[in-house]
Every structure is written in structure tokens, then in C-alpha cells.
Symmetry: C2
Subunit: 285 residues, 2 copies
């Protein structure tokens, strides 16, 4: 994991525009929002999926960077005053606190554009049609039926108690879609994405958000590097509020086992994916 | 022009997610931001460029829609309180006035994703590599070295008097980049983009912004459908403030003639492009 994380930091630092390049302040904000932070869960998943299809790592790091840029932009916009209005992220002041709202907004916008630029301008597959498929998958995951749509539902549900089935609908979009895209893009760098990986990705994507809800309720701000207890303070419906902490932990455990089962038939090539299911469910931050 | 505009309205209405589809409020905001408004200058340019390379219109309308979605999202974000804080656009309340800031932010984000989704999922060229080239061109035009970068420079220059050469640097990014992308994507739907078209696009892109500056200073809010006189009120550097209205009109005329000359060697196939140079410079709104 540490190897992949170090490799990703290098790739992201190289693929983002240099901070001296004009407009320098915008580029500084983009780098600030992306570098030195985050667990890089999506890149870890992309690399692990790439192992299944024997994808060259130089390709996977570009595809993983594209996914991570979408994730990073969503955090910048999500933290803005008109959304969650948060001041702390990854243990640092949020991008708009550091650079101002307008620059943070534009930095998020430019990060999204850069993600698609990376997918279009690097050679990530023998067949360019497969590369178009990657761009399509990432765009769908980021858009109104994916991540942005999930955030909209989140927005509208604040203050309401949602039943677990609607929570799932929201989370599959808000977090799950991009996690699925990470697995898929990583695999596509080497060949077709096996069906088993798609099932794995759905389970892990949901598990990630379920655990996030538990951590928001139980961990400290210092451990998380972001404001803890935010969900209940903002009246957001979570798995914890819908099911109670005990049932949620059992649900996460079920998803972890399910994710491991999904990829078991792939044997040793899927070892990293199985380990990541554990990491995602058993993490403390 | 009216034919192309009507065709584009139909294409955009069809390519945007239906407003009944969940999350309905987000989709309603996206449709509100895009439909029933605008001169559709970028689609007009894409169609005119497509005539030069004999591009099938079913392809051009998708490529033109992608460019127009990027343009529409940039207006939504540009109008937000943390940016220009504007309440009127295309004769209607701006998207955040109508739907709230958070939904407007997400609608802009989702429109950008949809633009790339359209380019990736429709068949726009025989060769998928050419289609990747379209996605690359649009992403570069939208990103930190294109439109978003131009808006950042605009932001930072407010309150300063910029020399004309720096204004040009800003406008080539803020407006020019996306107009160039419109011409280029339209042409690429039929074949290679002739060098003459790229020169034409640079001239027309700059002319568009130069004329915009004049109109902001001289036309009324009713004619423009957006708040007039905003630039000087906000202390933004413009061509009018840098050169004076007379010199700016002469500059626009020079660009118009230059744009027509660029495409003259292409003969009758470039008739629409020549007419659009006139339309862009001689328009009153």
C-alpha cells in the first residue's frame, strides 16, 4: 500500500500543472487540494484491479490520477460555504479557507477538466475505443446520475430521516459510483473488466460509505483530519441514525465478506483487492 | 442560423437528462441553465466548421452540445455570489437565484461531466482516436490553461488597469479557448481540422470578447438579457477601458476582416464561417 501511495503522490505531482505556471494561484490551489493528503483509496483500488488484468502501472497511475482528481474536486466543492461549509480537510484548512471561495470554485472546476484531459491525452489502452469507454465510465460516475446526483440527494435529505433503502440509493451514487469507476478504469488499462470486479466494486463502494458514517459518529476530529460528528450536527441521515451503530457494523462486515467472495474465483491475482476490502472496512480513520 | 439554433435546442433538450429523472431538482436546474437561452454562438461555429469538412450533422450536434454544456456550466458558476454575484442571465433569474446556491453549484459540476460523457458515448468519428482528440481539445479549452484559467486571471485583475496585451492573454483563455474548441470539434466530426480554421477561430474568439466589452459598456440590460455596465461597476479591466470605445471598434473590425481572410481560401464551403464573423462583430446583443 505504501508503495502505491508513494507512486501516486509522484504521479499526481507530475500530472498537475506546475504551481509556477500561469495562472499561478489557480494552479497552487489545485495542487493544494490534491497533494499531500488522503488515503488514496480510489487509486489503491485501481492498482489492485489493474493487477487482475495485468495492466501496465504507467497506465494505471494516469487512470487512477483521473479518478482521484474527480474525488479531490468534489471535496473542494463540498466544503464550500454554500454546501457543507467546512474548514478542515485532511488535517489542513479547506481550499476555500486557504485561497478564497472564488479560486476554490475554479480550482474544483479545473480539476474536473484535467481529469478528462488526462484520460484523453495519455495512451491508456491499445484500442482507443477502450479509452473512450474509460472516459464514459468516469463521466457517468461523476455526473448527475453518479456523484453529483448523490450529493444533490444528500443535500435534499438533510433534516429528514431516510429509510435504509433510500440511504443506499444515495450512497451508491455519492461515493459508490466513483469507487466503482476506480476499479473499472484500473482493470480497463489491462483488458476487459471482469464481471466479478464490478460486483466487488459495488460492495466495497457501499462498505466505504457505511464505515464513513460510523467513523463520523465515533472517531475524533484529530484522527479523521476532518470535522467529526458533522453528520448528526447537520441533521444528515446516516446508516448509524437509520440502523444504529451495532447493526451498521454487522452490515459493513457482511459487505466485506461479500466483496472478498466476489473476487475469490480470480485467485491470487485478486489478493490485493481482498486485502483492500479488509482495509476499507476495518480502518479507523 | 435559425435552423441550426432550432436543431440545437432539440438536441440539447434530448441530450440533457429528463427533468422527471431522479434527482429531479438537479436535472431541472441543469435544463434551466442550458435550455431556452443564448445565441448558441459556439454551436453555430461548430456547424459552420463542420460544413468545411462535410461532417454529418448528427455528429456535429452532439459535439456542439458538449461545447455548449461547458459554456452553460461556466455561466452558472460565474454568476454565483462568490464570483460575479449576478441575478440576471438570458433575461431570466440566474440558476442559483432560481434553485439555490448548492444546487446551482452541483448543476454546473454535473453539466461539465455530461459534456465529456456525450463526447465519449456517441459515435462522432470513424476513428475513435479522433474522438479522443475531441475530448482532449475540449478538456484543455475548459481547464486551468483555458476557460477556468481565464476566469482566474479575470478575478485577480479586477480593480487593476491591464495593458491591452494582458487583456488579450486573459480573453484568449476566458472566451477564446472554448470558441476555438467549438470550431475544432465541429471540423473534427468530418475529418482533420484545416489550419485555416484554427487561425479563423483565434480571431473570431478574440473578436467575440472585444465586442462583448463594447456591449457591456454601451447596450442596455433589456437588450442584453444580462446586467449591463457590470464591468465598469466591478472595476474590471476591459478593452473599452484600456483603448477607448473608438479604437476598440476599429480592433473588432480588423479581427472580423482577418477572420474572413483566414477562411477565404476554403471558398464556398466556408461561407457560413465568414457570415458568422460578421454576426459576431456586428451583433447588438
Amino acid at each position: 500500500m505504501a508503495d502505491v501511495q508513494a507512486r501516486m503522490e509522484g504521479a499526481l505531482a507530475r500530472l498537475l500543472p506546475a504551481s509556477g505556471l500561469a495562472p499561478a494561484r489557480l494552479h497552487a490551489a489545485m495542487r493544494y487540494a490534491v497533494l499531500e493528503g488522503g488515503k488514496r483509496v480510489r487509486p489503491l483500488l485501481a492498482f489492485a484491479a489493474g493487477e487482475v488484468t495485468q495492466a501496465p502501472v504507467e497506465r494505471v497511475e494516469v487512470a487512477a490520477a483521473a479518478v482521484e482528481l474527480i474525488h479531490a474536486y468534489s471535496l473542494v466543492h463540498d466544503d464550500l460555504p454554500c454546501m457543507d461549509d467546512d474548514t478542515l480537510r485532511r488535517g489542513k484548512p479547506t481550499t476555500h479557507v486557504q485561497f478564497g471561495e472564488a479560486t476554490a470554485l475554479l480550482a474544483g472546476d479545473a480539476l474536473q477538466a484535467l481529469a478528462f484531459q488526462l484520460l484523453a491525452e495519455h495512451r491508456l489502452a491499445e484500442d482507443p475505443a477502450r479509452q473512450l469507454e474509460m472516459a464514459r465510465a468516469l463521466a457517468a460516475a461523476a455526473g448527475s446520475r453518479g456523484m453529483a446526483g448523490g450529493q444533490q440527494i444528500d443535500l435534499e435529505s438533510t433534516g429528514n430521516k431516510l429509510p435504509a433503502v433510500e440511504l443506499e440509493f444515495m450512497h451508491i451514487r455519492k461515493t459508490g459510483a466513483l469507487i466503482e469507476a476506480a476499479v473499472r478504469l484500473g482493470a480497463l488499462c489491462g483488458g476487459d473488466c471482469p464481471k466479478a470486479l464490478e460486483q466487488y466494486a459495488r460492495r466495497v463502494g457501499l462498505a466505504f460509505q457505511v464505515v464513513d458514517d460510523v467513523l463520523d459518529a465515533e472517531a475524533s476530529t484529530a484522527t479523521l483530519g476532518k470535522t467529526a460528528g458533522k453528520d448528526s450536527k447537520q441533521g444528515k441521515p446516516t446508516y448509524v441514525s437509520a440502523l444504529g451503530a451495532g447493526a451498521v457494523r454487522a452490515f459493513a462486515e457482511e459487505l466485506r465478506r461479500g466483496a472478498r467472495e466476489s473476487v475469490a474465483p480470480l485467485g491470487a491475482a485478486a489478493r490485493r483487492l481482498a486485502e483492500l476490502a479488509d482495509f476499507i472496512v476495518l480502518r479507523k480513520f
